[in-house]
């Protein structure tokens, strides 16, 4: 009998505010240790936290983006535990009245769509960092990160495979960047995932789960789940039972390990933080955030398919970030909606390839959307062939000007004068009489050879359709 995997995710998205959630210290990454840790972040006596308006708005924006309820009243609570990178002895988080209630997001795995429930999302402060290198047997503490705003997004246990878990994590990752609340930087820890895994026989109640903490790569999430599912099956099938615990995924060894030490203290005694008053969110507040929300990826995707006749694949690619979608729509303003497919091809082809090669984000592309559209227009009006266009693109990438300037400067205009093309065709046929005989003797695949030779002789500038027609005509004689 088969085992069914049950997975739920808790995602910590670092909110892209300038200052901390409860203090006016900077959140900039990579500063000198403790240079961005003020009295509030250090938990000095007598200080009071004051909530960052932007952090609250970002939480609301996420709620709206996943069609969740945003309650009128939101309350902060203390989560009590002792660890040196959390100097207050508690973390300010939310418990029974989080900023975002039940919502949902759609994922797609192997062409199949599925709705994943989001249980809730709450605001909280990040902890500092412990550096365990040897400081004469002591631990070094950097509190720059302490107080950085986080949105913890908790899913329902709706995922049934590692692939679904990854699709969900990527969908959330894409969404938080799209609505501009998180930079999504996995290396810098702006997006961290905790994975809850259990197995059961289909139809039976949930099995005991284990939690894999703090994974900051989609690949590691996948590997950690694979390892953990195998471990659960091994333990249960050999007559053992799974212990509910937190485990750490070790990427070097590709295994998960128990973190027993922290387990006994897992009693956080939440209570409302008396330093913070309840936050009241009015309908006007919510409406103001909704007004600023961009068109969401799922909506954009549907519109790109419906309005421009794009494939799901292209629509997915072009909505993978707000900047991509904007670039595409700017191209269409110049190239026209009828050229949507060709524009999409150039974005997913040459542009994506060059951006990857030079490790550039689309925002930093040396070729603007309008200029790339200008190139597409010249392909459509037969000034250049698709092949020559790649050459023009390369020159544009190197900063040699617009498509028209490059075509003019390099004399790349397509040859459409049939007299000129005929001359080249005749030349090629005369120089390759042996091949002509072979072709006439039935070797029809020789045709491609002639096309190649003509194109080569014309430096790629002969109009391919005319070349084909002329060759057919001459060889048919």
């Amino acid at each position: 009998m088969q085992w069914e995997t049950v997975i739920g995710l808790e995602i910590h998205a670092q909110l892209a505010t300038k200052s901390k959630i409860f203090s006016a210290a900077s959140t900039a990454y990579g500063a000198e240790p403790n240079s961005q840790a003020c009295l509030v972040d250090l938990a000095m006596p007598g200080v009071l936290p004051v909530l960052n308006k932007r952090a609250l708005e970002m939480g609301i924006a996420f709620g709206l983006a996943i069609n969740a309820e945003v309650p009128k009243k939101s309350v902060f609570a203390r989560k009590n535990y002792f660890y040196p990178d959390s100097p207050k002895g508690y973390q300010i988080s939310q418990f029974d009245l989080p900023v975002v209630g039940k919502g949902q997001i759609e994922i797609e795995v192997n062409g199949e769509k599925k709705i994943i429930g989001v249980t809730r999302a709450h605001l909280e402060e990040d902890a500092g960092k412990s550096l365990h290198e040897d400081f004469h047997g002591m631990t070094g503490i950097d509190l720059n990160r302490s107080g950085t705003p986080l949105l913890e997004i908790v899913s329902e246990p709706d995922m049934r495979s590692a692939a679904e878990a990854i699709a969900y994590a990527k969908a959330i990752h894409e969404l938080v960047q799209f609505i501009g609340i998180c930079d999504g930087n996995l290396q810098e820890g702006s997006f961290r995932m905790d994975v809850n895994v259990s197995i059961r026989r289909p139809g039976e109640p949930y099995g005991t789960r284990t939690e894999l903490k703090n994974i900051n790569s989609f690949k590691f999430v996948e590997k950690a789940i694979a390892y953990e599912v195998d471990r659960h099956i091994d333990v249960i099938e050999s007559g053992g039972t799974i212990v509910q615990e937190t485990r750490l995924y070790d990427a070097d060894k590709d295994e998960t390990r128990s973190m027993r030490a922290k387990e006994e203290a897992n009693d956080y005694r939440y209570f409302p933080d008396p330093d913070l008053l309840p936050v009241m969110i009015s309908d006007e507040d919510i409406e103001a955030v909704r007004q600023r929300l961009p068109e969401l990826p799922a909506v954009l995707r549907a519109r790109f398919v419906a309005d421009y006749g794009l494939s799901d694949y292209d629509a997915n690619l072009l909505t993978s970030s707000k900047a991509m979608a904007q670039y595409f729509e700017t191209m269409l303003q110049t190239a026209g909606d009828a050229q949507a497919k060709l524009c999409a091809n150039w974005m997913s082809g040459e542009l994506a390839k060059s951006l990857n090669r030079d490790e550039l984000a689309i925002e930093a592309s040396p070729i603007s959307a309008t200029d790339l559209a200008g190139l597409v227009v010249r392909i459509v009006d037969n000034t250049i062939s698709g092949k020559i266009a790649k050459q023009v693109f390369e020159a544009m990438w190197q900063g040699e000007g617009s498509a028209d300037q490059v075509i003019e400067a390099k004399g790349l205009k397509q040859i459409t004068d049939s007299g000129a093309i005929e001359q080249i065709v005749d030349e090629v046929l005369a120089a390759n009489s042996q091949q002509v005989e072979a072709y006439k003797g039935g070797q029809e695949k020789m045709f491609g050879f002639f096309v190649g030779q003509v194109m080569k002789l014309s430096k790629g500038q002969a109009n391919p359709a005319q070349v084909n027609a002329l060759l057919k005509q001459k060889l048919g004689q």
Binding site: T17, K18, S19, S23, A24, A25, S26, E32, P33, N34, S35, Q36, A37, C38, L39, L42, V50, L51, N52, K53, R54, A55, L56, K73, V75, N80, F82, Y83, P84, G89, L97, S130, L131, H132, F135, H136, G137, M138, T139, G140, I141, D142, L143, A261, A265, D267, R269, P272, P274, L276, L277, P278, V279, M280
Partner: protein
């Protein structure tokens, strides 16, 4: 209600407060008294009453998202027991 000794020890551990063995009974009795008060409170009929998140009938003031703090690390670290390379040093937390 009377707290078991093990519960008193657990609470002390979670609060990171050292309670000497000879104090356990007295501390346990005080904690039990507090719990008794709450037991009494919980007899009140709260049907339809919204749980109170804060005794002040006010709402949270919000801060604009502006950086207003400057680096005062040197001053803060002057009163720390141990620092090195800008880090606060604490007793080792992992084995």
């Amino acid at each position: 209600m009377s707290l078991a000794l093990a519960e008193v020890k657990k609470i002390a551990h979670l609060a990171a407060i050292a309670v000497e063995p000879e104090e356990l009974d007295a501390v346990g009795a005080k904690l039990s008294n507090i719990l008794d008060l709450f037991a009494q409170l919980s007899q009140a009929d709260t049907e339809g009453v919204e749980p109170m998140a804060h005794p002040l009938d006010q709402t949270q003031r919000l801060r604009e998202d502006l950086v207003a703090e400057v680096d005062q690390r040197d001053k803060f670290q002057a009163i720390a027991p141990a620092t090195e390379n800008g880090l606060y040093l604490v007793p080792k937390v992992i084995e």
